[in-house]
Every structure is written in structure tokens, then in C-alpha cells.
């Protein structure tokens, strides 16, 4: 049921996204767009002792995209870059804990893709397509 997708906490994260905004001197900035729908997310991270010291995101997108990106920033805060670089699709799906239809999967995973893009760039690694999932 698609209605299960729009539980109160998802709408709350959409309307009041946590960690929404920018950082004054971020160590990494990453950005990507879902070409099929136009959703876009930018992540900014401050690195402290190889960990996510602070994190903010901005973006335009649907409730699923904004809520999942926001939850991901909360989840990533304080984690080591190595841990974040190994975040998977299932980690995000567990975080948002709502049923996601396959057409909306891209919305849910855009934040993850952008965050990993930034971390991989920072670590000097290349994000392979299969890593997105």
C-alpha cells in the first residue's frame, strides 16, 4: 500500500528535515540529480578524526527523497568514513522502514548515492555503479 509510504514520521521529516542546510567550511561537497524525475540532493560534510564530524544537506525532491536523505544524515553523524563508505541500500531501507515500490527506490536512495559520492571522492576512491546499491 502506497499509503504506508506516507506515515506521519516520513511527512514530518519531509516538512521539517533534520540537518537541512549548509556548513561554513565543509571538507566535502557532493551533488547528484535523478535524471528521470529531477530530484536533486547536495551533501556537505565536515570530517573530524576520520569521522563525520558534522553533516548538512540541501535538495529538492519528493517526501521519500527528502526524508530518507535527512534520516541518513542523522545516521551517518559520528560514523567513520570507512563505515559510511560501506553503507548499503538495505541500511537506508531499514532506516526509513516503510515499504518502497521499485519505481520510488531511486528517490529513497539518492541521498545515499550523494553521500557515498562525497566520501569516496574524499577517500580518493571511485564510486562504481554497483556500489550505489
Amino acid at each position: 500500500m502506497v499509503f504506508d509510504m506516507y506515515q506521519e514520521f516520513i511527512l514530518d521529516y519531509y516538512r521539517h528535515p533534520r540537518n537541512f542546510g549548509t556548513l561554513p567550511h565543509p571538507d566535502m561537497i557532493s551533488h547528484d540529480v535523478n535524471t528521470s524525475c529531477g530530484d536533486e540532493v547536495t551533501m556537505q560534510v565536515l570530517v573530524k578524526d576520520d569521522r563525520i564530524g558534522n553533516i548538512r544537506f540541501t535538495g529538492k525532491g519528493c517526501a521519500i527523497c527528502i526524508a530518507s536523505s535527512s534520516m541518513l544524515t542523522e545516521h551517518a553523524l559520528g560514523k567513520t568514513l570507512d563505515e559510511v563508505s560501506r553503507f548499503t541500500k538495505d541500511d537506508v531501507l531499514n532506516l526509513i522502514s516503510i515499504p518502497i515500490s521499485c519505481v520510488r527506490l531511486k528517490c529513497a536512495l539518492l541521498g545515499l548515492k550523494v553521500l557515498k559520492l562525497g566520501v569516496y571522492q574524499f577517500l580518493g576512491k571511485k564510486l562504481e555503479v554497483q556500489d550505489e546499491n
Binding site: L11, S36, G38, E40, G61, C62, I66, C107
Partner: protein, 403 residues
């Protein structure tokens, strides 16, 4: 061909096997469903008359050629052109690219300006950007006024500067606004500016007459016209004759020697390789079908649906509608503070198909200052009960989204 004396959408709907699925299809502006007559004409083309065209001397090959060229005549008649002015291509996008790559390369040079509008579909922006980049030309855009109409004063001013071409859409695929094509073409011609008209969103709704419009180039897609995936480029004969082909190969040549080749006459010189015969035949059948319904009847039916849907959306109380009240084919809207994808997902759950996103019109989205919108679009088969089901789904969505 089926003749309907009085337009009844419920009868019309029976002609479209698609609706057996029980879906409410409100995305006709993206692609229209196909009537049985179109599907049958295409099947018959493959079962009864399949041979390569313009080739064999056996009777069957001649039948196939006659069908294909007959379809060209039918398309010409539909827009009041002559068949030598009709080029079959893949879609409207390809037709615009053909003009850009052929006419454009020969006529646009460094420092020239190509005039378009901000309400264009990407297909009427990107080919000109590509041409401008290679030729050292630039693009200028006619803006949209606050009421969602083309800014005519700005268009006049831009035309006075004599751009090399004015390319614009007849009907916006987002706003539904109908641009005064005849007036704009006359204004452009007064300045000696040739015009390309993108009729993709108008041809399913209004009767087009290239003679009356006086337009130089006109493009549209068959699949939005209840036909198959084929496109049409109309160009005035003198233009087509002067234009160089873009694709080389079989059928587009008169003679081929090892050192050089000579081109076939227009329109065939633009149709390299085996063409989409069943597509052309299906498109001709779609035109027969629409003519039998009658454009006056189609227009009055679609206006009824449009007004009914606008009323319904207004009554929801949380809907922002983009574009003028007086419109054709589409209603683009946003629902409270929800993103269009969320609206579309919830409608999908109720079996209602609406488009969401930027509608291949990102510059216009920027102008409207929205990232995306949802869009309902209508056709000959749309009924008031489709709209009722959509409104019911939106009322449900209102509760789900806490609006």
C-alpha cells in the same frame, strides 16, 4: 473507419482496447492510447501487404509502396499540405533535429540568433543549442508573462531584431496555453524570419492547416495523435528542395557511384533506409479515426472535460494550477506542499495515471519557480467519471498528506 454521428465518449472509449485494464489514464499528452482501427491497420499491413517499399517490381512490393505513399498523402491532407512536403521521421524530436542539422547548418552562422521561447519542451531547445554551439550562434528566449501566456510584446521586440529562425510550440505541454500561431508567424514573416512550429501538443486537439498558418516548418509525433511511434516533418516544398539530407543510405539516392552520389527528390532524400511503413499506415488510420469523430466535436468534448477537471481541482482547496484558464489538453498543478511524485504515487495506488516531474521543460519550471509539478492530460476518450475517480483519489491523498 468508424463513423460516429454524435460524439459520445463512452462509445469512443469502446474503440480503445486499452481501457479494458480499468485504469484512469490521464497522461494522454505524454502518449495517447490507440484505437482498434489503428492497431488493425498495422496488423493488416504486416499480414497482408508486407514487402519492402520502393524496391521490388512484384505486385506485393507495389502494394506496400502504395500503402506507404498513400499514408503520406493522408497525412498531407490532414494538415492541408501536399504529399511532397511530408517527411516521415521517428518523432517530433527527430523532425526538429533534422531541420537544425540540415536547414540550420546551411543558414545559421556565427553571430546569428535563433529565437525560441521559455515554454518549449527540451526537444525544441536542445537541438538549437547544439546548432548554436557548432555554428557560433546564440539563442534568445521569449519569456512567459505572469498569467502563463507567451509575452507577445517581448516576442514582437525580439522579432524586430530579425533572428534567423523563430521556433516555438503551438500549445505548451505544461501550461496548456495556446500560442497565437497565425499571428506570431505573420509577425515573423513581416521581418523575414522563417518559423518552425512544434505542433506535438496541438495536433490532437485542433484542426491544423499549414496553408492558413503559412508556417515554414511544422513537426508533430504520431503517438500523441492516437497513432503509432512515428513522426512528421512538414516543410514548404522550396525549403525541402534546397535542404541537404542528414542521413545517407538506401532510398535517399538517385544514383550512387564510387566517387559520389546524387540525392533523390524531396521528401525521399530525407528518408534513408527502409522506412516505418506500418507506422505511417497506422498514423493515417488515426487521422481517419479523428476526422470521423470530427474536430469540432472533439474540441467541445475536451472543453467539457477540462472545465469539469478545473472545477474539481478548485474545489479541493489546496491546489495550485499553472497556466491560463483558457487552455488545451493539460492541467499542471501542485498539491499543497507535497512534491508531484508523491501526488502521482498516491494517485497510482487508486489506478489513476498522471505524470509528474519537470515534463521535459526545465527552463519553464525555473520560470515558474517550482522543481516539478503533476499533470493531468485529456483526450477523446476521457470521461467525467475518469475525473471523478481522480478527484476521489486526490481527496484521499489530502488526508494521507495531512493537508
Amino acid at each position: 473507419m468508424r463513423l460516429v454521428s454524435r460524439f459520445n465518449p463512452l462509445d469512443v472509449r469502446k474503440d480503445f482496447p486499452f481501457f479494458e485494464k480499468g485504469l484512469v489514464y490521464l497522461d494522454t499528452a505524454a502518449t495517447a492510447q490507440k484505437p482498434k482501427a489503428v492497431l488493425e491497420s498495422m496488423t493488416e499491413c504486416y499480414v497482408e501487404h508486407n514487402a519492402n517499399v520502393h524496391r521490388g517490381v512484384y505486385a506485393l512490393a507495389q502494394e506496400a509502396t502504395d500503402l506507404y505513399e498513400g499514408a503520406r498523402k493522408r497525412v498531407a491532407k490532414f494538415i492541408n499540405a501536399s504529399s511532397g512536403e511530408i517527411v516521415f521521421v521517428r518523432n517530433a524530436t527527430e523532425a526538429i533535429n533534422l531541420v537544425a542539422q540540415s536547414w540550420g547548418r546551411a543558414n545559421i552562422s556565427k553571430g546569428d540568433v535563433i529565437l525560441v521561447t521559455v515554454m518549449e519542451h527540451h526537444s525544441n531547445i536542445v537541438p538549437w543549442q547544439m546548432l548554436a554551439k557548432s555554428a557560433g550562434a546564440s539563442l534568445e528566449f521569449v519569456p512567459v508573462s505572469k498569467d502563463g501566456l507567451l509575452d507577445m510584446d517581448a516576442a514582437r521586440l525580439s522579432l524586430r531584431k530579425k533572428p534567423k529562425l523563430f521556433a516555438f510550440t503551438h500549445v505548451s505541454n505544461v501550461l496548456g496555453a495556446v500560442n497565437p500561431a497565425k499571428e506570431l508567424i505573420a509577425l515573423a514573416h513581416r521581418e523575414g524570419v522563417p518559423v518552425l512550429l512544434d505542433a506535438s501538443q496541438s495536433v490532437p486537439h485542433v484542426r491544423l492547416d499549414v496553408g492558413e498558418l503559412g508556417v515554414d516548418f511544422l513537426v508533430f509525433s504520431g503517438h500523441k495523435l492516437y497513432g503509432p511511434h512515428i513522426g512528421v516533418l512538414y516543410a514548404k516544398r522550396s525549403l525541402l528542395e534546397a535542404m541537404e539530407p542528414v542521413l545517407g543510405g538506401g532510398d535517399m539516392i538517385k544514383e550512387v557511384a564510387l566517387s559520389h552520389s546524387t540525392w533523390n527528390d524531396a521528401p525521399w532524400k530525407f528518408e534513408a533506409g527502409t522506412p516505418n511503413v506500418s507506422g505511417a499506415v497506422g498514423l493515417a488510420a488515426a487521422m481517419d479515426y479523428l476526422d470521423a469523430l470530427g474536430f469540432d466535436a472533439i474540441a467541445s468534448h475536451e472543453k467539457d472535460i477540462m472545465d469539469y477537471a478545473l472545477e474539481g481541482l478548485d474545489s479541493l482547496g489546496c491546489v495550485a494550477i499553472y497556466g491560463p484558464r483558457d487552455r488545451v489538453g493539460v492541467i499542471s498543478f501542485n498539491f499543497g506542499d507535497m512534491h508531484a511524485h508523491d501526488v502521482s504515487s498516491v494517485l497510482d495506488e487508486s489506478g489513476v495515471c498522471v505524470r509528474s516531474g519537470h515534463h521535459c521543460a526545465q527552463p519553464l519550471m525555473g520560470e515558474l519557480k517550482i522543481p516539478a509539478c503533476a499533470r493531468m492530460s485529456f483526450g477523446v476518450y476521457t470521461t467525467r467519471s475518469d475525473i471523478d475517480r481522480a478527484m476521489e483519489a486526490l481527496r484521499k491523498a489530502k488526508v494521507v498528506f495531512g493537508l
